[in-house]
Symmetry: none
Subunit: 189 residues, 4 copies
């Protein structure tokens, strides 16, 4: 049922999704839904959190598995793009389905956005400390990077041949991030 819910929410958005949509897709009765979840909102928030955790952890692991900034950037982008290709519903749910809907979600969204920012801010801070990137408002840069990448990922989801353009996207965006952070490696300081 959770599988169905994620997919349907991702496809139609929170408001346009009815409980009946979900349970009929999952082939259970409406009562069954309310046996497991108190209401529609709770389910959505739950799914959002779970999905957000999955994405954040995946990206964080990508960061942790590398040591140099450029490698971290590339690893994060590869992970994110990979999820967009293989689990588009996850991305859709996080970036689209929950925008401007239930008030209870606002805080969860803020937490998710903040964690996403931290994914970028921490490696960036470290790179700044080591003088691999110039002084800058590191938080602002990190916020901007999350927006930049999400937008590109959303663009990918709209394309039919997502899997084929994935590598190009990773390459282009890796360069974008390194340029945007002013990483000296690229400019050859």
């Amino acid at each position: 049922m959770l599988q169905s819910a994620v997919r349907i929410f991702a496809e139609r958005g929170y408001q346009a999704t009815t409980i009946r949509d979900i349970v009929s897709d999952a082939d259970v009765a409406i009562g069954t839904f309310y046996f497991y979840f108190p209401d529609k909102e709770t389910l959505f928030v739950h799914l959002y959190e779970e999905t957000a955790d999955f994405l954040i952890q995946t990206l964080q692991q990508a960061v942790n598995s590398r040591s140099s900034f450029p490698q971290q950037v590339k690893a994060v982008l590869q992970s994110y793009v990979s999820i967009a290709v293989f689990e588009p519903a996850v991305v859709e749910l996080l970036l689209v389905a929950g925008v401007g809907t239930v008030p209870a979600l606002a805080e969860k969204r803020a937490v998710f956005r903040e964690k996403l920012v931290q994914i970028w801010q921490r490696p960036l801070s470290e790179a700044m400390d080591r003088n691999f990137v110039p002084l800058q408002n590191e938080r602002q840069t990190a916020v901007a990077l999350t927006g930049a990448i999400d937008q590109v990922i959303l663009g990918m989801l709209a394309e039919a041949d997502r899997d084929e353009i994935a590598d190009g996207v990773v390459q282009d965006m890796t360069r974008f991030v390194l340029r945007a952070t002013g990483h000296y490696g690229e400019q050859g300081k």
Copy 2:
């Protein structure tokens, strides 16, 4: 009534806004709404288009009024940030209220996003032609820039002291954009 509608839509999003919300805010009767607009969706799409045109034209004028790439970047950012400070509802409506709602809006949103991308892509192409920025996937860069800036603008809207931080945001983001496009001026090629 249009004023009310923009503000309420911006505050609560399309779905959560009821006709009653709008008319009671505008202090008119429900019938009055339907005297001027055929339905809720038409009104929203109309407001979205009008608002989108306003934003796009303002940003385009900012581009046209300058000749050098860095000046164009700064002018666009100043315009955008200015709108965010003085007309936050406009930004909220365009970036949040219409996400994932009515099908009729999807196309309008796509058109708006595309125009926003063009705002950046055209100056960037020109700069690339003149060798002021390195070779790059200029469309991808432009898409990423729109995402980056929107995200930062949205962050601004969440702050109480929007007007005070506006200048800093413009400065930081100008640098971000110049770095992200690889503009040589800043790095002193």
Copy 3:
């Protein structure tokens, strides 16, 4: 405006006709309608009565202009069919548009039906008195005749070539009425 009203009411029926339909067809403002008529219902009842009077008087004159029963029958049918051909809206209004709608009309309808019955009952009574037709429940016969003729007239209205079949209908129905009343002339008593 009355012209428009009759036509529109006849076309769409009472409920489906809006004041706006009528006034826009008559090219006047809504306010003008309410200057002349207190409300929709009053207009309809007024039109119904006027139209009913016109039909009844026309048919009554047809009766009065002839002396023998068969001639009276034929004259009434010719008049009725003629109205159906040249003023179909009149017939539509009386037989269809006002069925099962406003309570205030029920009485008017009853009066109209009764007059229609009298159109047939009076000549029939006279013919019975003179032994031109057999003894019968003359009222029942008259009621049945009105139903029979209305049904045939309604059938005519549905045909495209109303004017061409009109004569045949008059002939067939004249025979029908003479048979149905048991008029001896036809059977040659």
Copy 4:
């Protein structure tokens, strides 16, 4: 709920009947209505068809159960009058409630009227073939008979003592039909 619906529709007509009328008469909630039927129109059309089928089958069986034309006429009239006495709502629904309302019903009404005409036309054709009635436009006669009988039946419904006058109506109308078709039996050819 179906019982309620038929009665209320019959009493007030399609347009004047609200869903609330039906459900409050049936003592269920509005949602219950929409659980069983997609909308008001569908329900009405459904009831109309079902009711029409019932009436047509009943009348057809009356025809089939007799062999001579006069007996067939009497049997049909007895059946029809009987339904009018015991199920007045059925007749009201078919003859009044659905006149000039929903477009979707127009076709169903036409089909019903045609079947009603056939009820009379078939026995009449047979009688004509056997020279029991004179040559005539048999279709026109059949159409007229349906109108005549419906009108008389509607007159019955308006009377309080329906059950007491029923037999008289059957007798009078049997004679009417036999006369109207020119059946020789009555005139003693």
